[in-house]
Symmetry: C2
């Protein structure tokens, strides 16, 4: 059988979970709708009661928190191969927003279908849950980083994390570069600094020979140096997990 668009979602789940052939088939036959999204568009607004989730095929989606004064903070990034908001299946009323950071194509899958498949196949429900917990682990690390690391280390840590995730997605070139289509202001919104300071930090990493970041591409020049600077340990990403059986 030829691999449908949902094969990559199955691959994603298989990263951390064991699914039977029947379960895999069930995921593959989920109804889904391919959508092209233009940048600078809210996929989901704060407080929405949502009814669908989105699997990212290309592009970049960000999860935002926002204060009443309009200050925004990116709380999570979703690169191709990841479900942007699977957790909303369990709790459809969001307290955050999803924003399209660069032109993206996504697969829209209704919560009703996702919930139904989880209801029928406990192993799939657990795989979904597990995916969300892995997300939590990343958020946990971000809290630590934003609170405790200076700006350069924050940026270095972000680059190390993205390198692992893009590598997992098969989107990392051999010379350690990857497409990362964001503005400096969006990087600032991830790191929790101003865009001015993000600019200086980016320049500093460039001048010190660690990495070159343009508006479209990140090129890592000294990965070991970045890892040292960031005190990076990839285990929180749970990407090389020995698969855990669906039922303990």
């Amino acid at each position: 059988m030829s691999a449908g668009p949902l094969q990559k979602l199955v691959d994603r789940l298989l990263l951390r979970s064991v699914l039977s052939d029947e379960e895999q088939q069930a995921v593959l036959s989920l109804p889904c709708l391919e959508m092209d999204l233009s940048a600078k568009r809210d996929l989901i607004a704060i407080g929405d009661r949502t009814e669908a989730s989105y699997f990212v095929q290309t592009g970049l989606i960000g999860r935002f928190s926002q204060g009443r004064d309009g200050v925004r903070q990116i709380v999570a990034l979703h690169i191709p191969g990841e479900m942007a908001d699977l957790c909303l299946v369990a709790l459809p009323k969001t307290s955050w927003a999803f924003h399209v950071l660069s032109p993206s194509t996504v697969l829209k899958i209704s919560h009703a279908d996702l919930a139904a498949i989880g209801d029928r196949y406990p192993g799939i429900a657990l795989a979904f849950w597990r995916d969300c917990v892995a997300d939590m682990a990343v958020m946990s690390e971000w809290i630590f980083g934003i609170a405790r690391r200076p700006a350069e280390a924050k940026l270095a840590h972000l680059l190390c994390e993205l390198r692992c995730r893009y590598k997992q997605a098969g989107l990392l070139t051999t010379d350690d570069s990857f497409t990362f289509p964001v503005t400096q202001m969006q990087i600032a919104e991830v790191l929790g600094v101003t865009s001015v300071h993000a600019n200086r930090t980016i320049r500093s990493l460039r001048e010190r020979g660690f990495a070159i970041i343009t508006g479209t591409l990140v090129r890592l020049l000294d990965v070991p140096g970045l890892i040292r600077l960031a005190d990076f340990d990839a285990s929180y990403l749970h990407l090389d997990e020995r698969k855990v059986s669906t039922v303990a």
Copy 2:
């Protein structure tokens, strides 16, 4: 039937999910072990492969991230009535630690049993998942706050959040005080500041008539003022949710 110790766990799940009588009974008959924990003790260390979760009955449990240099950051707090680490059922290998912040009594429930009950009752699995997603929403808000709010607003926001959660747990007195047995250093580890600065911030809130924080008790004097100072909006806590049926 008299309410067993697990009744409060059922209550917790019923906060956000609908469970049938049979499902409630299943949760109530989960094997569990009551444990007294002394303070300053790691319940779970970073990188542990865990095999049980803990329902907090009294006391306070914190989730930590930690850098190699020993700097720690509290990433989540768990007060009585909450599951401290339910998410570990789905992903037992932790990238964080759980630490007993003050003498606590907990109910230890094995992951095997929790997974089995979720496997048998999809509605329970969904309720567990939903509980974790609510946790994520809190983390999301913390990321925003740590990144974007000045220290006083951070502290005010924490107090507002704790007020809601203690109220939910039935542990808030009518004059807006609650037992909160932590040191100033631990408050600093939540807010992402040094203990010296936490001290000054606490003093400032006291002198400005917002709240009095001692090592054991928090007493809120001006809740509307705190809400304004923190720009607090409780919806992210998902505490007054209209219950969502187990299957969409």
